[in-house]
């Protein structure tokens, strides 16, 4: 007879002293872990609920401006520094320190509105344009003791400038107003100025990858693309309504997103402007500003409906909406360079700091904490399509104004759809074509 009994030595399973860690032998045999799918599902449900519980995105409000914040700029080298320009005539540019959440410098830059602000790529100076027809260059550091606050350079123009953007590598910048002007930093007259049509241009943006490219949008509903190396514009696309601003994708050189007055955002491929890659719909009022996440996967948009929304670049619906009771029309928005925070400046004189990921825990994470977070993230992904989980994950509380607007617009959209259906039904087959949502809004592409 040969016999062996299962006989464990407790020393192998129990810790020796109280100072040791507990021993946890593992066996991944599926029969020892029954109900793995239902248990994972419950875990995913819990994780989703917790995510909503911890979704507290609002971090801080920076107040100090005397009027609505008109423009924001990120510092290219320092994560903690941000610049803002306001609509008031006095102390209209402020530089903020985000870690201290304090204004560290105020500059009386222009008479009237500050229309645009941009930093130089090296971070040593910045440019502002204002209603007083001037472009001013300022040092990033404050003046020494006893010195007066003075711009490095001042350029007096003939017309009002409405926007400015700096080249990403060269000492050149572009302004817009009646025309798009490209300036060398050393000269007081533009290198070249380009126009296409006669209307005021709202904003101009340099492409961060193909740095010679720039895009502008004008009041006559078009978006124009330019190449800095030649003095003429490349092509333009005309949309249904006015585009307020555009933003280039920092990862894909040929993609840009336009914030439009018709409540939508349009992501275009520069090479094929006749159909937008994606129409992003969720806002219920004009979209005023848009900025991409540094990863190029998402962007944030600011709207007149007093909310900001975060869209995945390849989805037509937003994943997140931020609003507070006090936040009024949001005029400008920026995604910080570490891709973790969002800044927005609004009508009621405040700059607000938000987390980009609403339920993210700030601060140092222990390795176990991080592991648990990653695991929960994966579970949420795995079960995201289950109705119970989807319902919880997608629910957002909206202010009454936005909520009722959404309902109203749904009714309007439905009525339009029904009318089209009826029209199609009662006319010759084929005479009322089906037009996709993406093609509906593009009027023409001109080269």
């Amino acid at each position: 007879m040969k016999v062996k009994m299962l006989s464990r030595n407790p020393d192998n399973y129990v810790r020796e002293t109280k100072l040791d860690l507990q021993r946890v032998p593992r066996n991944y045999d599926p029969t020892l872990h029954p109900f793995e799918v239902p248990r994972e599902y419950v875990r995913a449900l819990n994780a989703t609920k917790l995510e909503r519980v911890f979704a507290k995105p609002f971090l801080a409000s920076l107040d100090g401006h005397r009027d609505g914040v008109n423009c924001l700029a990120k510092h290219p080298k320092s994560l903690a520094t941000v610049l803002s320009g306001a609509c008031d005539g006095e102390a209209s540019v402020r530089i903020w320190n985000l870690t201290k959440q304090k204004c560290i410098r105020t500059i009386q830059a222009h008479e009237g509105f500050v229309r645009g602000i941009c930093t130089r790529f090296c971070g040593t100076s910045f440019f502002t344009v204002g209603d007083d027809k001037t472009v001013k260059q300022w040092k990033m550091d404050g003046p020494g003791y006893g010195e007066e606050e003075e711009p490095l350079n001042t350029i007096l123009g003939k017309t009002v400038y409405t926007g400015i953007d700096h080249h990403w590598k060269d000492p050149a910048f572009a302004t817009c107003g009646q025309q798009v002007d490209i300036w060398d930093e050393q000269r007081t007259s533009p290198i070249c100025s380009m126009t296409w049509g006669f209307d005021s241009i709202n904003s101009v943006k340099f492409n961060p990858i193909e740095t010679f490219l720039l895009g502008s949008c004008a009041s006559d509903r078009n978006i124009v693309l330019y190449d800095m190396r030649q003095a003429t514009p490349l092509k333009k696309v005309i949309l249904d309504m006015r585009t307020n601003t555009i933003c280039w994708n920092p990862m894909e050189a040929f993609i840009f997103t336009a914030a439009n007055e018709d409540f939508n955002l349009y992501t275009f491929d520069m090479r094929a402007l006749d159909t937008p890659v994606m129409v992003h719909m969720d806002h219920v009022s004009a979209v005023l500003d848009v900025d991409y996440c540094p990863t190029g996967k998402e962007f944030v948009s600011a709207s007149f409906d007093r909310s900001i929304r975060i869209f995945p670049a390849d989805k037509s619906r937003s994943r997140e909406v931020y609003h507070t009771k006090r936040m009024q029309h949001v005029i400008c928005v920026r995604w910080t360079a570490d891709s973790r925070y969002i800044l927005c400046g609004s009508d009621e004189m405040n700059i607000r700091l938000w987390k980009a990921n609403a339920s993210e825990k700030l601060g140092v994470l222990a390795s176990r904490e991080r592991a648990a977070q990653d695991y929960n993230q994966k579970l949420k992904e795995k079960f995201q399509h289950h109705p119970q989980i989807k319902r919880i994950a997608n629910h957002r509380h909206l202010p009454k104004s936005i909520y009722s607007q959404i309902q109203e617009q749904r009714v309007m959209r439905e009525a339009r759809r029904r009318k089209e259906l009826n029209r199609r039904k009662h006319s010759k087959p084929g005479s009322v074509p089906f037009v996709s949502e993406r093609k509906k809004h593009v009027l023409a592409v001109v080269k």
Partner: protein
């Protein structure tokens, strides 16, 4: 685990250096060979069947560890030797810049049998027809799943314990081996696991082991209830409830104890203090606890199967089995379905979310005596008053796989973690064993038999110990059954050696991931499968989302006409006209369809008929 020797560290002498350089790298299962005996190497690796591998594993890993240590002492000399040859070294094909060559290129091999155990994907099923984007996502998910199972299979190597076994010498029948022989042959610690409690006073006993296998609770018919840590033989509580005890069961941890008494169900803590008296569960005969759902299933004399959620104290469902007195019950540990045996020979499978049985199986002629389900949820053993013992397949077909008539019907059945089947017949316990883990036990020759002091009243294998607990009229017997239990427990799931702190932590986690009772169904993995949404459901959802049905046909409403022609009669006439037109269209369409179908059916008439076609329905 240091098993792979670096080639640079091999124990070599100067003499056979060129030979040694090209020496085949040693696998962990090969014995280390002295350089002189290089020619007479032990040959190819042994059988790589995982069961056998398991048995040899520990020994080999020891030897390799030893050899690695001995090599370490030779290491400095070895490095000098390597420097000498210098230029004459031929760079091998896979050699890197540093001269290091991977002796085992590619990923570590995964034994196929082990990998199959961890495989969760059914390769035979095709992916549902879907858009390319979704499809690629599904494919990626499958690939990840496969990778994970391969990794889990590789981790099998790290398991520390091996299952027990009992083998007779040539021609010796293991069934003739008595408990006393086994006790004599095994070590003291194991021998101490065999004991008898002589409790003749309080009548036949029901017993239950806790999920960790550390604690034992038993209740006698005449009211004796006790709980003890049976390994250390430390008594936790002992009381007499002064009422008949029908069944006893631990709840999720050893701190709570449910006792089915004559009238009501009561819950005690581990000091014997009565915590709850649940009057909604009365005249309970059998108890089952579903640990992941925190449900206590009770079967009563009145014919009700009641599910009690013990975490919140609510009755989740009370199902009327409509089959009279219920006194045979078992749970399927794989999917938490409750199996009830009835006096008409059927077994019905129940889930709390469904009022009717999920499945009804006619198993025996005559009433059911006992039901047991194995831990993988594959087999169900039943015994009936017709003295038959049958094993059923639970994977969809519900057909008997094997049957045997016993001289005396088995009154109690129990499966062990490794698939051993125990049956109590009168005062004899028979145990049958399968060929591998979780394989079907052939019912011909028992593996072990044992005669007790009185008729068996309850049977349960202790989890994670090679022990079978038998409650009988003379008390409790703890039998030694080598090879019954899973040797390697998972510390996060149920740890016999857990401390109080660990238990508390585990309890919180377990409560947080309590599976809702609605998720109990025959296939517990159904939740992870792709839900191929039917057209109808999709339409319904769309209607719900939009608030109206976009494809619904608006009933025709004639416009009122002016100038005196808008009489109600003409309106109705016009309405009727349109309706008739639609009706005519419909009839015409259906007629056309019928014609088409007839044509299609007529087609095979042209093919030559075979004589056998008359049997085709």
């Amino acid at each position: 685990m240091e098993t792979v020797p670096r080639p640079g560290r091999g124990p070599q002498s100067k003499k056979n250096k060129p030979q040694a350089k090209r020496k085949k790298p040693r696998r962990y299962w090969e014995e280390e060979t002295a350089p002189t005996a290089a020619g007479a190497s032990p040959g190819p690796p042994r059988k790589r069947k995982n069961l056998e591998l398991g048995r040899h594993r520990q020994k080999n890993s020891h030897s390799s560890k030893k050899s690695w240590l001995s090599k370490k002492s030779q290491f400095p000399r070895k490095s000098q030797e390597q420097k000498q040859p210098g230029g004459e070294k031929k760079p091998g094909p896979q050699r890197s810049l540093s001269g290091f060559q991977d002796p085992f290129p590619g990923p570590a091999p995964v034994p196929e049998e082990v990998a199959r155990k961890f495989c969760r994907i059914d390769r035979s099923k095709e992916l549902p027809h879907s858009l390319p984007k979704t499809r690629s996502k599904l494919e990626v998910a499958e690939r990840v799943e496969e990778e994970i199972s391969a990794k889990a299979a590789r981790s099998e190597l790290l398991l520390a314990e091996e299952p027990g076994f009992l083998e007779g010498e040539d021609g010796e029948d293991t069934a003739t081996i008595r408990q006393a022989d086994i006790v004599e042959a095994v070590d003291i610690a194991s021998a101490a696991k065999h004991f008898d409690l002589n409790l003749r006073q309080f009548g036949p006993y029901r017993l239950n082991y806790s999920r960790t296998g550390r604690h034992l609770a038993f209740g006698g018919r005449r009211g004796h209830v006790a709980a003890l840590d049976w390994v250390t033989k430390k008594l936790m509580c002992e009381i007499n409830v002064m009422e008949a005890v029908r069944d006893i069961r631990f709840l999720h941890s050893e701190a709570l104890l449910a006792v089915a008494q004559n009238r009501w169900l009561r819950i005690y803590d581990n000091q014997g203090i009565e915590l709850h008296c649940i009057r909604r569960c009365d005249r309970v005969t059998r108890l089952e606890f579903l640990p992941f759902h925190f449900l206590l299933a009770t079967a009563s004399e009145t014919g009700f199967l009641t599910y009690l959620d013990v975490s919140v104290g609510k009755i989740v469902a009370a199902l009327n089995a409509r089959a009279g007195r219920l006194n045979v019950m078992a749970q399927n540990p794989y999917n938490a379905v409750i199996h009830l045996g009835h006096s008409n020979g059927t077994v019905s499978l129940w889930s709390p979310s469904v009022q009717e049985p999920l499945v009804k199986i006619l198993c025996h002629r005559g009433g059911l005596q006992a039901v047991a389900v194995d831990s993988t949820g594959t087999y169900m053993a039943t015994s009936g008053l017709d003295h038959q013992l049958k094993i059923f397949d639970l994977r969809g077909t519900f057909r008997p796989l094997s049957a045997r008539t016993l001289p005396q019907g088995a009154g109690h059945l129990a499966f062990s973690q490794r698939g051993l089947l125990a049956a109590g017949m009168g005062d004899v316990v028979n145990i049958w064993v399968g060929r591998g883990k979780a394989s079907l036990p052939p019912l011909e020759q028992p593996y072990l038999t044992h005669r007790l002091a009185g008729p068996v009243h309850s049977l349960q294998f202790c989890p994670f110990e090679d022990v079978l607990g038998v409650g009988h009229s003379g008390g409790i017997t703890s039998m030694l059954v080598p090879g019954a239990a899973e040797p390697n427990f998972d510390g996060l799931e149920s740890n016999p050696y857990r401390s109080r702190k660990q238990r508390q932590e585990w309890e919180v986690k377990a409560l947080l991931e309590k599976v809702p009772a609605e998720l109990i169904c025959l296939n517990p993995r159904a939740l992870a499968e792709v839900d191929v949404i039917s057209l109808e459901q999709r339409k319904k959802e769309r209607t719900e989302r939009l608030g109206f049905d976009p494809e619904a046909k608006v009933p025709f409403q004639p416009k009122p006409k002016r100038k005196g022609r808008g009489s109600t009669a003409s309106l109705v006439k016009r309405k009727k006209k349109v309706l008739d037109q639609e009706h005519r269209d419909k009839v015409r369409q259906s007629l056309e369809q019928q014609q088409q179908q007839q044509q299609q059916q007529a087609k095979p008439a042209g093919v030559r008929l075979s004589a056998l076609d008359r049997f085709v329905r």
